[in-house]
């Protein structure tokens, strides 16, 4: 029996994952048991599968403005990011050993970088300002003759800040350094042009854009020196062996197609809802603050911190009202550590503790936001009344 107060369900955790779009499921289905050929086989069934993969590749290359043969399908954004960092590091170690990543990267980039530093690479972290925007002047100084790769995310998964990727790309080009960007949160939400942005490698993920889980890609500019992570039968032009996951790729491509067709209106609609949410929370709840940049921000990201209370408790109170969000408070982290993103923005540990992320999506409605804005002040008040801190403000 559920202990919940309500059977209402308001999902506001689209940055964690999204439901698979019905049209995506439909596009995938035949590739499970009707057109199930191995795309490497040259009989009819195999050729049909291969066509579906080629077709999917074209959808991505058109969106990213690259060649189809520069798209490599992988199993997750984590794999793509691991591959980008480790693959480039080992293929280019003759040129130098410095790798630069931003201080607010996703754990899969940071932990790959950490692992590389154990292998003797010189890993340095590029700082961000209080809104999470990369400091270009400091970044420039970090790029030495020894530098082989810079990896800076397009937009941050926690606070939604958009990085000046075009400027970073220009800088890397001038310095002759490879540039990778983790665009898992922005692909399908914002236009991306790898040439205009001077990006050499880019990570994208399917389950963030209403596609299936276990499907992602790495764009690698032709001519880039990179070692494979997976050795085997030579799939994906010998760069990423593994039987090609045709349904997952078809679903990912279909998901992107839908996102692209709706991008303009959805971005406007979600940005409006986002700003309404932020404005009202800050107005209705004392001692609440926005994390991240007010404007240079993903259209669907709201990240707020509340003094005197803890994020996991707040998240579970909201859950009790049927509202699903996420938190990065120390209490909710596996190592009981505050979010490295918030700390990098100069936010103190005690302030980071009361942070929640509310992320909107395709199916978020005005009504859902109205409901959130009704419930949130109440539960914050309830938890503050329980807290020994700052009672005067509750």
């Amino acid at each position: 029996m559920s202990t919940k107060k309500t059977n209402k369900k308001v999902y506001l955790d689209y940055a964690a994952t999204t439901p698979v779009d019905k049209a995506v499921v439909k596009a995938m289905l035949p590739y499970f048991n009707v057109k199930y050929g191995n795309s490497a086989s040259i009989h009819t069934m195999g050729v049909d599968s291969n066509k579906a993969v080629l077709n999917s590749r074209d959808i991505f290359s058109e969106y990213l403005n690259c060649q189809s043969n520069e798209i490599y399908f992988t199993s997750s954004a984590t794999e793509s990011n691991n591959w980008a960092l480790k693959g480039v590091a080992f293929a280019n170690k003759g040129k130098g050993n410095r790798i630069i990543v931003s201080a607010i990267e996703h754990d899969c980039v940071l932990n790959s970088a950490k692992w590389l530093s154990k292998q003797g690479f010189d890993v340095v972290y590029a700082p961000v300002d209080k809104n999470g925007i990369i400091n270009l002047i400091k970044l420039k100084k970090l790029i030495t003759k020894n530098t082989i790769l810079v990896s800076i995310m397009h937009s941050n998964n926690e606070i939604g800040t958009l990085e000046p990727i075009k400027e970073v790309g220009k800088l890397c080009k001038e310095k002759g350094v490879l540039f990778h960007t983790d665009a898992a949160q922005s692909v399908g939400k914002l236009p991306i042009d790898v040439n205009e942005m001077n990006v050499d490698l880019l990570t994208a993920s399917s389950h963030k854009i209403y596609g299936p889980k276990g499907s992602a890609l790495l764009y690698i500019r032709n001519g880039t020196n990179i070692e494979p992570l997976l050795h085997g039968g030579g799939h994906e032009s010998g760069k990423r062996s593994s039987t090609v996951n045709v349904p997952a790729i078809v679903g990912f491509a279909k998901a992107l197609e839908i996102c692209v067709s709706e991008m303009k209106q959805e971005s406007i609609r979600q940005s409006k809802l986002r700003d309404k949410t932020i404005k009202n929370i800050l107005k209705k709840i004392p001692n609440s603050y926005l994390n991240g940049h007010a404007v240079e921000r993903l259209p669907n990201n709201v990240n707020i911190r509340f003094d005197f209370i803890e994020g996991e408790a707040l998240m579970m109170e909201l859950d009790n009202h049927g509202i699903e969000v996420s938190t990065v408070s120390a209490c909710s982290s596996p190592k009981l550590e505050s979010s490295h993103v918030l700390l990098a923005c100069g936010i103190e540990k005690k302030e980071a503790q009361g942070t929640i992320r509310i992320s909107l999506g395709r199916y978020t409605t005005e009504n859902e936001i109205t409901y959130l804005l009704e419930v949130l002040p109440k539960v914050v008040k309830k938890l503050r009344a329980m807290s020994p801190m700052g009672l005067k403000n509750s």
Partner: protein, 160 residues
Amino acid sequence: MYTDKVLKYFHKPINQGKIRNPDGVGKVGNIACGDMMYLYIKMDKSNKPETIKDVKFQTFGCVAAIATSSATTEMVKGKSIKDALKLTKDDLIESLDGLPPIKIHCSVLAIEALSEAIYDYLKKNKKKIPAELEEKHKIVVKHNKELEERYDEWIENQKI
């Protein structure tokens, strides 16, 4: 992740709040995640031995911290000091049908808050303090200093 019992205590905490003129207060915190717990006791001195007449808590922390502090207050209400000090984190965890392993430390904190409140009462009333309690107290004092530095503004804030 959490059992229904934990969630029940969390959503409808028993004995939440402050006691005016308490006989003892235990203030403890966790330096890892930054959790703070205050526990207040009021004694019934007409009983022999004296019993805990009223007990309340205030917690700044996660679901487990709130649930374990509330359950602690419920379990020791009406008990003598000797019996209250017998309560262990395992009793607490069992009464909640279990806690996720990473949240065990929150239950440790609740027990610490209780023993600190008792320590405070014994000390103020110049009563004999068991050696074990004295030991526990020393550790708490060390942790609290660190936390007070982290939260000084907020603690100030609440005094106004």
